[in-house]
Every structure is written in structure tokens, then in C-alpha cells.
Symmetry: C2
Subunit: 716 residues, 2 copies
């Protein structure tokens, strides 16, 4: 990240002075923002800019920023769109480096708006005056009470914390800040980036990742303008161990594409986002509610050491419910055994009431002595996350005031995450005097959930994120030195035309990148074919090669399992005949003579291109699995060994690769190798090829490798 950008963003959140261009006593924005800054006791200087007024709400106003004697850190622009560029010019003249344009009516509005916005972008690039917006809802430093936005917390205080919020939607930034406040989640910096004529979501993310006071980043995104910038921010987040939780929308807006390859047909940019998020350990939330429910558990700041969860519940029904959901989500519930169980059994009164398994149903009575119940569990290394489920009856008057403080106290003694699932009334007015247990827990940083499914999804995300972060052995890289790639060879294969390569050429190309292919040669006469077949050894396969025929089977120009010269001659002639019949104008490059591959498992590995992401790699099982069930996985190059391994294990039919019905496990390592080589190919040839299918790639049993039996490369 450029230092200058970081500096500009720093000013946004820590301004010594804010000029409001368009301040007024009468308009909603012009008055509202100024007034709220005053109310919050903003300690810096507020400078209203309005050519028609001497003062606004008791503060001296200036006709232009250029007339202000003091330095200005941030310019907030809320003037009509036609004056925006001029305002920016004056800001630049004044030496301002950070501006927020709330004014709408640009990119999102009409042609005139689009033209105007292009000018803003150009101006920012030329002058280095950074812009947040236009068409945004501003930003705020909630922790320090500086709100440069229409956002208001009427009737209650802002709640500062360690959560950064970045939203492209202005309305949702304000709405989400309200949601966070309702959930007692403390915010740090929040920003809406609007049309992103200059600064974008990733810039603010980057700043927050670098910022020590931000612990978690929540984001609402409709699309990243610059994927590379986002990747860099995500990489930095991995390095700094900062969780990023993203609600990415706009999936339904994807159009159908009309690609020639299977891979191209099955890839949408949402699959690319999903893949990249997985590769970078980004947590993906399903909706606005989950965005902050997930954030809550990360914001508490405790990470589990392992994946074992124990459930303590006050009701058997809640135990069954949570166990079901753990089953659905694949959350590990280790058995409650050994000395931990013994210690619990020795607690007076506990055995009488409960069922001590996992879930452990300790009933209301057990909750009453939670201070004795929890310590043995906290000492047990099998349990990394403690989930306490409270049903209302347990925490009625009296008990609520006791259990909540007990949990809060215990939580202070451990670095294991303690999470509370609270089912039942939670409204403040419930319990008078001492305050409600729910609120107490929330206010003391215990993640407390009302919705069982969301609670367990959040726990699962916490465990998975932590596993992603865990130190691991260096990812194996494809050996650069293990094979020479001659640029000349590549150019010769690719030629200088557009459109498909034939199978022979396609396979030559992938073999240059070290992907094993069938023994084969192109024959241009029957005699030639016979000679090659002899060399390769019968049985062989014959395939007609033509740039004009991609569906070879349909055209009848494939002959399998040819056992001798007589049959070869017959098939050769048939293939030529069928090709002519199928497409009389087809240019035939020859007939490919190919080894007949012995049985193996068919998989597909392919590459397709997304306008934003560039190459995307797909993996799936051959046949129906890809075509009908669309059981495929994606990753974005560069693909590491671990990425490749995960993408293979991700498909539903993975079990087939592990061996079913008496079949042996296939050579998974060899598929990984192929995927990594294809990743390398896709990056180095990204400007030359548009799509690539290896279909099928035959995988043999463990240790015996793979072989590409057919391939299709589409040139750009």
C-alpha cells in the first residue's frame, strides 16, 4: 500500500480539522453532520464552507476552503454534483489530502454522472488528493467519537471496540453500525466507499489490517474493483493474523456464459470469489445478521487451540438440538471421559440431576454451580471451545444474576473461548434491579447468541479460521527446474490464430508444462499410421484431428481399441470419411495414433478466464458428475499444494477417488501435481489462451500417476 494512501486514510479517521463543503443550517446533510460532530464533542476544528453565510450553528463559516487560514485535514463534500469538481480543485489548492464525497448522481445515475465521475478519478490520480466516494455515506472513528457521516446513534452512546467495518453500500454501513450497536459489538473505524472513484474497499481494509487498534474486519461487498489489491490485503491479514469476515453479494446478477469448454461453462465469478476466499482464509457470511454474529465471536479475541467443543446445557432438548447442528456442520464433540468426568462426578449435587456426556446436560442445578463445573473442563485439553446453553427457565430471576457474573469471572481465568447460547426472553426489562444476564454477558465481551444455528456456524468459522492460520510446513512448489519450457516450442504450438487447437496440439502444449499425456503421433497416411501403431504397440486409438471439429465422438472420428493393422486401415478410412460427412469443409490435420490407456478413473482439470480474476482452475470427476451434478471445485492461481489438495477433497464425489467397491485409492498426489502445473501454465499463458480442458485426465492407482487422454485448448 502506498504510504500516501495510508496517510490520507489516517487523516480520515483522525482529523484535526474537518471542512464541510455545503454546510448549512437547513439541509439534512448540511446541518446534520455538523450538529452531530458538535454533540459528540469533536475536539478538532469544524470549518463550515458556505459562500452565503458568515456562520453556521455558531461556527464561523468561509466562502471557500482557500479562504481558511488554518490547515484542513479532511474535506467533506456535500455540494450539488455540478460543483463537486470545482470544490476538489479548491481543496487541492488548499493542500488538503483527504476528501469524502457524499454527493450522489455519478456513475450510478446517468451519462453525465459517469462523465463527471471519470473526471474525479482523473483529478485524484493527477493531484494525489484522495477521495472516499462519491455516493457514499461517509465514515467514522467510532472509538474516538468522530462521525463524518449521517449515521446517528440517537438516544444512546456510540460503542467503541476493535471491529472495523467496510461497506460499499452507504445505507448498509449505517444500518450495520446499528446492528452492531444492538448486539453490543464495539466498532473502531467504519467507512462506506460508495462508487469508489478513487479509494476502494481494499484500501481501507489494508489500513485497518495495519492498524493495531483493529482486531477484526467486517465487510459488505458487491464486488472488488481490483482483485489484486484485495489479494494483497488478504495476504497481509494472514501475516498479521486478522480475521476478515465478508458478506459478498451480487451472485444472482451473474449472467450465463457461453464458453466452449466445460470449465468455462461451469465457472462464474462467484465461484472465483469463493475459491479466493478459501485460499486466503476469508470468512464468508451468508447475510447481514450472520456478518455481525460471526464478527462477535472473533471480536472477543480468544482463539481455540484445537477443534474440540464441549456443550454444557441446562435442558436436554437444547442438548439434542445443538448436537444435531454440530453433526450437520461437522463440529467435533469429544467424549467427556477420564479424570474430567471423575472430577465432575465428585461434585456434590451434579450427578443427581444431569447426564454427563457431550452435550453435558447439567440442568439448572448444575448451572447454579457453574463455578465448580467449569474448571475441570477448562483443564481438559480435548476441549478447546466451551459452549454454555441456557434456556430461560434456568436463568429466571435470581439465577440469571448469579450465572452471568460467574461465567464472566470464569472467562477471565482462561484463554479458551467461552460462548453462551441463550434461548428465551432476553429483553432488558425482564429482570429488574441487577440487569439482565444477557446484557451483562454481552457487555462483558462474552459472545452470546440467541440463534443456535448461527451460534454453531460462528464457532465453526472460528475453529476453521484458526486452523487456516496454524503454522504448517511450507507449501510444495512446482519445481521450476524439473523441466525446461522453451518459449519457441510454445509459440510453435500456439501458432498465431485464434480459436481451438486440436487435441494433438493441445496435449503438446500441456506436456510442455510437464503434464503427462498419452503416447501418440500424428499420421498423415495409412502407412504412416501403421508405422506409428507398431512403435506404440497395439491396441491403439485413432482420432481424426481438425480445428474445425471439436466434438470428435459426435462426428464419428474416434476409433478405440484397434488391435491390428487390418482394423487400423479400415478405421483410418472410416474416420476420414466420417469427417468429410460431418463437415465437408473441415480442414483435416491428420489422424492421431494413440496408445490405448488401461483402466483408471476419469477426472477433469480445466482452466477458464474471468474478466476480473484472470485464470481460474476447476477440478471434477469425469462424466455425469461434472455435466449433470456440477460437482466441481475451483481455485485461483497461483495454486499451492494445499489449495490443490483441498480442491480435490472438496468435491462430493471425493470418496470415489479414495476407492469404493473394491477399487484402490487413486494417485491423489499426482492430480495435485497436475493442478499445480496447470496453475503455472495458466499464469504464464494467460494472455494467449482463453480456456483449457483436460478431459479426461485418467488417474491410476496410488503411485502410478496420471495421463491426459484428451485435451482442448481455446486460444484467445
Amino acid at each position: 500500500m502506498q504510504k500516501e494512501v495510508a496517510k490520507a486514510i489516517h487523516s480520515f479517521f483522525h482529523p484535526s480539522s474537518i471542512a464541510i463543503l455545503g454546510a448549512s443550517e437547513t439541509t439534512m446533510y448540511g446541518r446534520g453532520i455538523l450538529e452531530y460532530l458538535q454533540q459528540l464533542g469533536y475536539k478538532g476544528k469544524i470549518i463550515p464552507i458556505n459562500p452565503k453565510r458568515d456562520q453556521i450553528l455558531g461556527i464561523k463559516a468561509y466562502p471557500s476552503v482557500t479562504k481558511v487560514p488554518d490547515p484542513i485535514d479532511v474535506a467533506l463534500i456535500i455540494v450539488d454534483r455540478k460543483y463537486v469538481l470545482n470544490s476538489l480543485r479548491e481543496c487541492a489548492e488548499k493542500g488538503i489530502k483527504s476528501s469524502i464525497i457524499i454527493t450522489a448522481g455519478f456513475q450510478e445515475a446517468d451519462d453525465e454522472g459517469r462523465e463527471l465521475e471519470d473526471k474525479l478519478t482523473k483529478f485524484a490520480n493527477e493531484t494525489g488528493l484522495r477521495i472516499c466516494g462519491p455516493n457514499c455515506a461517509g465514515l467514522a472513528n467510532i472509538k474516538d467519537g468522530i462521525v463524518i457521516s449521517l449515521l446517528r446513534e440517537e438516544g444512546r452512546k456510540l460503542l467503541g471496540g476493535n471491529v472495523g467495518l467496510v461497506s460499499q453500500s452507504g445505507a448498509l454501513m449505517m444500518a450495520l453500525a446499528g446492528v452492531a450497536r444492538d448486539k453490543e459489538i464495539g466498532l473502531n473505524y467504519i467507512v462506506s466507499t460508495g462508487n469508489e472513484c478513487d479509494l476502494e474497499v481494499s484500501d481501507f481494509m489494508h489500513y485497518m489490517i495495519e492498524d493495531p487498534s483493529t482486531g477484526v474486519i467486517a465487510a459488505f461487498v458487491e464486488g472488488f474493483k481490483d482483485i489484486q489489491k484485495f489479494r494483497e490485503a488478504a495476504d497481509l491479514a494472514i501475516q498479521k493474523k486478522k480475521p476478515i469476515i465478508v458478506l459478498k453479494v451480487g451472485r444472482s446478477e451473474l449472467g450465463e456464459n457461453a464458453a466452449a469448454s466445460h470449465t468455462g461453462h461451469l465457472t462464474g465469478s462467484d465461484s472465483a470469489y469463493n475459491a479466493l476466499f478459501k485460499q486466503k482464509g476469508i470468512i464468508r457470511a451468508i447475510d447481514t445478521d450472520e456478518l455481525f454474529e460471526m464478527t462477535k465471536i472473533f471480536s472477543a479475541g480468544k482463539l481455540p487451540k484445537g477443534d474440540g467443543v464441549i456443550i454444557l446445557t441446562s435442558s436436554g432438548g437444547t442438548g439434542s438440538l445443538t448436537a444435531d447442528l454440530c453433526g450437520d456442520l461437522g463440529i467435533h464433540l469429544p467424549d467427556l471421559t477420564g479424570s474430567t468426568l471423575e472430577e465432575l462426578l465428585s461434585l456434590e449435587g451434579l450427578l443427581t440431576f444431569g447426564k454427563l456426556g457431550n452435550p453435558a446436560d447439567i440442568r439448572g442445578q448444575g448451572m447454579g454451580i457453574i463455578k465448580q463445573v467449569l474448571p475441570p473442563i477448562l483443564r481438559d485439553e480435548k476441549f478447546s471451545v466451551i459452549l454454555i446453553c441456557l434456556a430461560f427457565s434456568t436463568v429466571g430471576p435470581g439465577l440469571a444474576q448469579k450465572i452471568a457474573p460467574d461465567i464472566i469471572e470464569l472467562s477471565k481465568t482462561t484463554d479458551k473461548p467461552i460462548v453462551v447460547l441463550w434461548i428465551g426472553r432476553k429483553k432488558k426489562e425482564d429482570i429488574t434491579g441487577l440487569g439482565c444476564g444477557f446484557d451483562l454477558l454481552e457487555q462483558n465481551g462474552i459472545p452470546v447468541f440467541e440463534k443456535p444455528l448461527t451460534c454453531l456456524r460462528a464457532i465453526k468459522a472460528l475453529i476453521e479460521w484458526n486452523q487456516f492460520q496454524a503454522p504448517r510446513k511450507e507449501d510444495v512448489k512446482v519445481e521450476e527446474a524439473s523441466f525446461e519450457i522453451s518459449k519457441e516450442d510454445i509459440s510453435r504450438v500456439l501458432g498465431n490464430k485464434e480459436g481451438p487447437l486440436n487435441e494433438f496440439e493441445s496435449k503438446k502444449l500441456i506436456s510442455l508444462y510437464g503434464i503427462p499425456i498419452t503416447h501418440e503421433k500424428l499420421a498423415t497416411s495409412v502407412e504412416d499410421a501403421k508405422k506409428i501403431a507398431k512403435e506404440i504397440g497395439y491396441p491403439v486409438v485413432l482420432k481424426g484431428m481438425s480445428h474445425d471439429i471439436t466434438h470428435k465422438t459426435e462426428a464419428g472420428i474416434v476409433a478405440l481399441n484397434i488391435s491390428d493393422e487390418v482394423k487400423l486401415e479400415k478405421c483410418y478410412m472410416e474416420i476420414l470419411g466420417n469427417a468429410k460427412k460431418y463437415n465437408p469443409k473441415a480442414d483435416i490435420q491428420g489422424v492421431l495414433v494413440q496408445e490405448m490407456v488401461k483402466e483408471g478413473t476419469e477426472v477433469i482439470v480445466g482452466m477458464s478466464k474471468d474478466p476480473q480474476f484472470g485464470p481460474i482452475i476447476m477440478f471434477g470427476l469425469g462424466g455425469t458428475f461434472v455435466e449433470v451434478l456440477k460437482d466441481v471445485s475451483f481455485r485461483v492461481p497461483p495454486i499451492t499444494h494445499r489449495d490443490a489438495e483441498e480442491m480435490i477433497k472438496e468435491i462430493k464425489a471425493y470418496k470415489i477417488l479414495e476407492g469404493v467397491r473394491g477399487k484402490k485409492t487413486v494417485d491423489i498426489e499426482s492430480i495435485i501435481d497436475t493442478i499445480m502445473k496447470l496453475s503455472k501454465l495458466s499464469l504464464s499463458l494467460k494472455d494467449s489462451i482463453a480456456e483449457l480442458d483436460i478431459n479426461p485426465l485418467i488417474v491410476f492407482e496410488k503411485g502410478k500417476g496420471t495421463k491426459a487422454v484428451d485435451a482442448l485448448v481455446i486460444r484467445k
Copy 2:
């Protein structure tokens, strides 16, 4: 439902007098319930029973119910478990018909408890004194303010409404009542059934379905004691058009079973529940939160006429988000076009701001004139549900007070469901003076949601339930008269042993029920086999038949595609040899000579038995789909035409049956017919057979039927 049971339940909810056996001034239960009844101003008679006191909390107490001069409607029993049976005896003597036993320590506790509970059940059966419990948390008539339970709404009023709540868990009944109250969902009758020594969930459901004041039933269930009773309640609910929303837990407690057939192996009782719920239009909630979120939308009482939903949103981001979720859930968003669009475009001010598609982004300004925006949409028949999405910024001070009443007013003018999704702060203290828009909407019966996914799942459930209820043509019944089933034939095939039938016998059995099988005959000599093969016509298949060998292929006793007598003889001898090798002790019943079936699509249809549900029918595609991907569906007999059709369409691989890769659609109607025949078989032979697989059932192209190529029947 027995009249006497209905009467007893009626007394529970409308008692003229309640005796509290174990009333006291000092114990939590003994005092608490009495006190709360007083506080609520219960108009009937409260009669404390306590042999040691003359009066409790100012009310005259009696030593026993038998000493009470007035009649008693309901006995609430909270005495120690060892006195419970005696208390019941006295109640019976007094002529009481309805009792609630809150006391725990029975079935759930220990052997002594189980014995005691058996006695309670016996006593109830003998005397007709109905029992709710033991180990329950009582029940309540919330609408009339009669709470015979520890449930309390401290500091706020009970909220009466049309929702009945039935819960097996006592703790959760109370917790869920609190959740409902928090969500401003009005309850009618609520009950916890505890151990169900007598009355069970289905009895109370039945009562509530019959009861005109109950509109919706929400239930928390760990398992139905008597499935048949639940089926009858569900059938009544269909007839009375009352939605039942069930949270059924305990899925994770299913053990692995060790069945011989695929069907048996893949069936768990949760699949049976799922199947039955689908067959009966029961809505299944995923957790306690969704249970009441779903209830909310049904409780409002408006049903959509079609499946078209329109989304009006104040923010583009929310529009994208909700459209994504509609895509995921398969919710239909018809285009906004024609005269409706024209009318909207003619509204002053609307065009300037919004994007009028579906979702229609009308921004805050459009929401401000919602009274003009909504009428044309309400008139458009394409739109059956209106979802209004409000982000906080839209409904800040001022606007909230305007929009909420506008929506409430509009809702009164239409019978289309209007649903509000509210993203942003909702707490009461937000907007002073006029009250918060969120609360206003809630209190006026508009279903208002905070969680986008839950909101759309609820809308989807509403639409689907309504479609389920829609009048439809009478389900086709399997023609009883189309084939004669001779009981003698059946007995002859089944024999009188346990364990597997061989393929020949199994297929004979299913063919007696009209399921088409391959042409085949059992040969006991080579000559015999040759004769049969000639009759059937070559090519044929030979299969060794033995009750002792179920895995024929593994044993090497299947020979396919035999083209002539020479090959037949050779294979015949091989099969006999292999059978001996595989299992020297195997009893060979002969060699089956079978027609070789021409290509078709392999599916599996099977039957397995659940201890509770009895027979369950499974359907899936052959091979990997069933074995590896477990892509199967279930229904509980009797299976209607519609059930069978739905179960076929439910599997993920359904597209394969519709025809892919140039293949024609298969004969779906014929699979339906087979499933219905199997349903019939499974009911009529439920006492004789334990499992049944038809694997494969070959399905030919549309109009050409099916043929069972192999089958396995396991006798009980």
C-alpha cells in the same frame, strides 16, 4: 381423537378450578405457581392441597382432594415422586379427569422411576384420568391468562394470540414462550408434555387443530411416541388448513444400523420423519429461532395466491443480498413490467431515485411515498407476496414514524402478505416519542424480520405450504383390480423361514404385486437351461440361485450376454463350480435363466423398516449415486402418486432421468407406478418381510416401462 381426551384437554386450558397438590408457601413450585395464578387474576377456584396447612397465601387449604367439597377440574401434582400415584388415586376418587404431573424422577431418572411411571400409565388407562407429564413444566392458556406452570412473564404482560405451542421439553416450552413474547408473537395454548406417560404431543396438537381460536401450531419434538396418532393429527391439519411448524431434534442420536439391503443401510428414522413431514405438509424449522420466525409469518394469517414475490428495497445492497438469497432458495421474483411499471414510473419523484426492477430499489425517497408506490403492485396479480426491505438510514427519526404506519394501513387494504425485512437498529430506545417503527410493525401484526435468510426461508415456507394445501386433482390410486393377488401364492413364495429369498423368489414376490420383472425360469439341469433359453430367446443371462449366497457377482455366479447353447453349457458348469468354491456348504436351488435386458437407466427402489414408522420406501439412481453420494429420497407408505413423483424429483441426479448427453427422458410414470406398488406390497406384507431391494430396476425411455432385473427380499 377420543372425545374423552378432548374433554380432558379442554379442562386443562379452561379450568373452573385447579387443585395444587403440593402447594406450599416456601417451595419454588409449590408457592410460585399459586402466586402467579393469583397475580394474573385467575377467576376460577384455586384449591391448595397440603395436609400440614390450613391455608396457603390466604387461600383455604385441604389435606386431600377427597376432602374438597366443590368439584375440581384440574389437579396439578408437584408432590415427591413416591406420593404421586397415591395422589392420582385420590384425584380419581374425587372424579377429577385432568391431571398435570410436574414432579420429575421417572422414566428419565432410574429403574425405580421407570417402574413408577409404568404404574402411572396403567392407572391412566384403567381409570380414564388423563395425565400431562410427568417431568413436564405444565401448561397455560396464555390468551385467557391462566398459567399452570412455572412460566412467568416478569415485568411484562402475557401476549395472547393464535399460536399454539407444544413442546416435549419443559425448559424449552418456557424458553420458547419467552422467545415468542420477545418477538411479539401472541400465544394461545401452550403445553409441555414431558415424559408422556399418557397424553402426548399429538393429542394436544389434535386438540389445537380442532380448536377455532388456534391458527398455527409450533412444536418442539424429540420423537413422536405414536406415529399413527401424529399422522392423524397431520391429516386433520390438512383438512382444517392449519399450519404445523415442527422443530424435530435428536437426529444425531441415530445409531448406525447394520442392514443387509442398501435401503436398510441408508434409512434412519430422521429420513422417515423428513419424508412424513413432506407428505403431510409439515413445515420443519432448523432451530428454536427459526421455529418462531416461521410461526410469525403464518400467524399473520395471510396466504399468498401464487408464488411471485416482489422486493421493494431502500438500498441497492439489500436488493442484491435478498436477490441472492431468493436465488439460493428458489424463490420466484417475477419481472416488474407492463402497466404496473408504467404506473410507478408516472409517480412524481420515484423515477429520479430508484431502479425499478425486482428487487425494486426505490431508495428512502420511494419509501417516503410508499402509500403511492404500493397500490399498483398490490393490483398486479404476478406478485403474491410483498417484501419491503428497510435499512436503518431510511427509517431514521421522522421517516420511521411515517413508513411504519403507512405499511400498517396498506396492509389492512389487501389480502396479500406484506412482510418487512428491517436491517439496522431496532431497539425501543432508538426513537423517542412516537415509538420505534420496528415495534409498531410487530405490534400491528406485520411480520417483521431482522435476518434476511430467515425472512426468505419463512416466505418460502409460506408459499410452499400454500401450494401443498392448494386443491389438486385426486391422487391416482394403484388399481386394486388390475391384478389379482393370491394369498396362497404369496405364502408359497415366502415360505416359513427367516432370512433372504433368492433372486428368483424375490422377483416372483414383487411380480405378484404387479411390478414387471425379467422373463426368467429356474433351471435345475443344463438341458433344462437350454430349453428355457430357447423359449426366452438368446442372448440370456445365467445366475446361480442360493439362499446362502446374496452377493452373486462376488461369488462369480453371474454370466451375462450368453449367445448360444455352447456358451450356455460352459457358463452353467462354471457357475455351479464357483458356487461350490465360494461356499462349499451352500444349498443351490438351481440356475436362473433370464432374458438379457437391453440398455436402460438403472435405478433402485427399496423398502426398509423403522421400529416406529414401519415400512419406509427409498428411491435412488443405481451405482455410485446410491452407494457413494447417498443421493436418495424416502417416503412413508401409503405413498400417493404425488408423493412418488416428488420423491423421484427430489434426488440431485434427477436431471439424468430427464435425459442428458443425447439420451431420452426415461419413463418416470412407470417408476411412480413401481413405487406405488411397492408401497402397497410393503403395507400388506409388513409383518412378513424386513427389507426389500429392487436393484437395479431398469427404466426404459418414456412410455416403455420398467423391469426389475434383480431383487432381494429379506424375510423377518
